[in-house]
Amino acid sequence: MSPLDRDALARLVASQLPHNAFVNLGIGAPTRIANFVPNEAGVILHSENGILNMGPAPAPGQEDWDLINAGKSPVTVAAGGAFFDSSLAFAMMRGGHIDVAVLGAFQVSSGGDIANWSTGRNDGEPPGIGGAIDLAVGAKTIWVMMDHVARDGSPRIVAECTLPLTAAGVVSRVFTGLAIIEVTPQGLEASALRDGASLEAVQAATGAPVRLAGQVATIMADGTLTGAH
């Protein structure tokens, strides 16, 4: 058993998006989710730079550099798409109109705090906050997609974030290569475990207490789920 790879994790998250939901996929790994959302799910993708119903990347040579996603890669617009300015794009985010935002993160706390804009280290680069903070505060549901542990093996799901916060108490679910962790008022609950991973293994990789949810699904290597979820 090894943690899911990026594509399998993206497939897992994609499979859980509610039908016909308005969804914003954060810059970085979450952007990959778009590749795995089935057409019949009816998911409508929002991009904070002013696109609703964003489509996949264009064919090579068909790029329009005025039609890019929040990560500044060329995209297309699906039938029924619309363009608008940033003030309306952020009104959608801050005003609670986005059903689900999937964000990357460095740390998530058991209280649902998220830290995803600063490593707290001086990497010689200027800081950047962008629009993730507006999503974290305003979307109806915030999911995080990230590696379960940092490169040094230390937990990224923690009792209290040590990195600068993006927003407090907003995350409801964390998808990692090891588990799906629900953030509940009673603490963290694993609602799915990687095939072959025990609760003990997940707990060992997590910086706050985790218990099993009432029903626990199994995450297969390709990112599909078996059992209830």
């Binding site: 016909n20 308005f22 019949e40 009816g42 409508i44 929002h46 609703l52 119903n53 617009v77 699906a78 039938a79 029924g80 798409g81 619309a82 363009f83 608008f84 309306l88 952020f90 009104a91 959608m92 985010m93 801050r94 005003g95 609670g96 109109h97 986005i98 505060v137 305003g138």
Partner: protein, 220 residues
């Protein structure tokens, strides 16, 4: 695929009930959803809070609601020349919160955009500053104005697609645009409904994320 088209006024109004707060778009007849207004009147509701620029002028508009005593409170900028509202107002059976038009629009926008309020220079030194916090910024006084939201918004669009994207005819945009952002359930009455992709993405005025139900008064 998302499809917000409803076939009847009853379906368009499902969930609307006594005591709700309702925004109705329109400036004069432009942008006013007459079909929905009539359908709501037939429900005979009570204790509505109405947010609208006007309070009905002719007989077939919001006057219908006032004539039946459906509205307990109205938040409005210009309720003059409104016979039925006027009668209720004089009788003391409806409460009026008079709000300058630009402030009304901006309060609705704040409600839709997730803001806690804004500082406006409008009303400083007038009766409109009563009961409001005054904050000085850069040596100028501003009033703290609070957001408005509603349970339902009703607007009149021109063309909708089945996802809920809307266009409007000429000056019918008026208050409709911000109102679609600030209610739990947004219903658009339109002239015509088309398939996704038939509207130019550059010409869509209200993106479908703000629209929950679309109703063609006279289906094409």
């Amino acid at each position: 695929m998302r499809n917000v088209v409803v076939e009847s006024a009853a379906a368009a109004l499902a969930g609307l009930r006594d005591g709700h707060t309702v925004m109705v778009g329109g400036f004069g007849g432009a942008g006013m959803p007459r079909g929905i207004i009539t359908a709501v009147a037939e429900l005979g509701l009570r204790d509505l809070t109405l947010i609208s620029n006007n309070a009905g002028a002719s007989g077939d508009d919001l006057s219908l609601w006032f004539r039946q005593g459906m509205v307990r409170r109205i938040i409005c900028s210009y309720p003059r020349s409104a016979k039925d509202f006027g009668a209720q107002y004089r009788a003391g059976t409806v409460e009026l919160e008079l709000v300058p038009q630009g402030t009304l629009v901006e309060r609705i926008r704040a409600g839709g955009a997730g803001l806690g309020g804004f500082l406006s220079p409008v009303g400083v030194g007038t009766v409109f500053e009563q009961g409001k916090q005054k904050i000085a910024i850069g040596g100028r006084d501003y009033l703290l104005e609070l957001p408005l939201r509603a349970d339902f918004t009703f607007v009149k669009g021109k063309v909708a697609d089945t996802l809920g994207n809307l266009t409007f005819n000429k000056a019918a945009r008026n208050h409709c645009i911000v109102m679609t952002t600030a209610a739990d359930t947004v219903v658009a009455e339109v002239d015509r409904i088309v398939e996704p992709g038939e509207l130019d993405p550059e010409s869509i005025v209200t993106p479908c994320i703000f629209v929950d139900r679309v109703f063609a008064r006279s289906p094409a």
